[in-house]
């Protein structure tokens, strides 16, 4: 796991149940300005899921809240 992936995991795990949008994740982990869409977050979420989920296509740990963001359920 790369440091960035770990940071994302940490962010979500520290506030379990809270939903983080891609924009919020980007701002808190990369600490840069976010413009509309950013595939960096998408790619990292996928890689993270590949590493920790049994089936990354049906994630159970890092859940998708459609149209809102991602969360780790407590």
């Amino acid at each position: 796991m790369t440091p960035t992936e770990f940071e994302i995991l940490l962010l979500l795990a520290e506030s379990q149940g809270r939903v983080f949008s891609a924009e919020e994740i980007f701002k808190r982990v990369w600490k840069e300005k976010y413009f509309g869409s950013n595939n960096t977050v998408m790619v990292h979420i996928w890689r993270l899921r590949e590493k920790i989920e049994d089936n990354p296509k049906e994630p159970k740990i890092i859940e998708t809240v459609w149209g809102v963001g991602y969360k780790i359920e407590s």
């Binding site: 509309g36 998408m42 979420i45 998708t64 459609w66 149209g67």
Partner: protein
């Protein structure tokens, strides 16, 4: 009148008429009253006769209609209550005729669906049976062919499952009790989330996705799970048919009261004459030409159902090696006039 007076004069036995009249004043009063009543009845009959005839006509037609002849209509003559009644009856028979026609169409669609489903279910099932039989009866030459048989059976099983899942989804969407849980969501976020699921596949087939945003934030009211499913189907369609085209483009923009999403793939354009049929269930563009096609043929029908539920519009255009699926969704998720 003259006749009556003549009789009266006769009856009065040549006495002066005035004396006779005064003596029989009550008789005269009654006589005149009777005459007036008679006159009224005649007038009434004359006046209502045409109405009665029209009424009879309505009655006869109604009887005819009640026997199941819905093609007939009652002539609307004047603008009175009876004509209004006739107009309403005509309207009613028309509505009945339409709904009967609709019922017949539904019946036909349902039968077609069952025929298609049975066919689509039987084909992979037959082949699974065949391969599994070979395995069970030990009719394979070596480990490699055994593995091949198992692989084929497995992949057919998977496509069978896709078909059954899609069918279930489709019938669920089209049942009347289906509820749409609308909340405010970010369309960009949703599309990104859908794309994430395709990242490994895109990498595998060497495709690249590109986002084109005209606006930084587009929020709409919609059912997030249904919309995710809808975009998933569209993207799935685009990567299946466009994998030789290198790019998967997603354009997002906002107009007056709606959000517009375009999902574009290149290569393998859909023939113009097939475009209008593409959202019908089980329609697959010329199966032989697309050997990679693993869709169930219900995917785009599901897309249409979900877009309809959000009072949106989905269209497709395919030309110059470019296929564009465009979804327009009203922001508030309400019917737009």
């Amino acid at each position: 009148m003259i006749f009556i007076f003549w009789i009266l004069i006769k009856v009065s036995d040549f006495k002066p008429f005035a004396v006779f009249f005064l003596n029989h004043i009550i008789f005269f009063t009654v006589l005149v009253s009777l005459f007036l009543v008679l006159l009224m009845i005649i007038c009434f009959l004359l006046f209502t006769n045409s109405k009665m005839q029209y009424f009879e006509e309505i009655h006869r037609t109604l009887e005819y209609i009640s026997k199941g002849n819905l093609d007939i209509s009652i002539p609307v003559k004047k603008s009175d209550e009876l004509s209004e009644l006739a107009f309403t009856i005509n309207n009613m028979t028309y509505q009945l005729r339409v709904s009967i026609e609709q019922g017949k169409n539904w019946e036909k669609t349902k039968n077609d669906l069952i025929t298609n489903v049975s066919h689509d279910l039987r084909t992979p099932l037959t082949s699974i049976l065949g391969y599994v039989e070979l395995i069970v009866e030990g009719k394979y030459e070596d480990e490699e062919s055994l593995k091949h048989y198992a692989d084929v059976a497995y992949s057919k099983c998977k496509s069978l499952k896709t078909l059954v899942d899609d069918l279930f989804e489709y019938s669920k969407l089209n049942s009347t009790g289906m509820k749409v849980n609308k909340i405010r969501i970010s369309l960009i976020e949703l599309l990104e989330q859908v794309i994430i699921g395709f990242l490994p596949y895109l990498k595998e087939v060497g495709m690249e996705y590109r986002f084109f945003l005209k606006n930084e934030k587009i929020n709409i009211d919609g059912d997030p799970v249904l919309l995710a499913r809808m975009f998933d189907n569209l993207v799935n369609n685009a990567v299946n048919y466009g994998k030789e085209g290198k790019y998967l483009d997603i354009e997002l923009q906002q107009e007056d009261k709606e959000a517009i999403v375009r999902i574009i793939n290149y290569d393998n354009p859909i023939p113009q004459e097939e475009l209008p049929l593409i959202f019908e269930r089980f329609y697959k563009v010329d199966k032989s030409r697309f050997k990679y096609n693993n869709g169930s043929g219900i995917g785009l029908a599901i897309v249409k159902s979900i877009v309809d539920m959000h009072y949106g519009i989905v269209t497709v255009d395919s030309k110059d090696n470019k296929t564009i699926f465009e979804v327009r969704l009203p922001f508030n998720g309400l019917e737009t006039v």
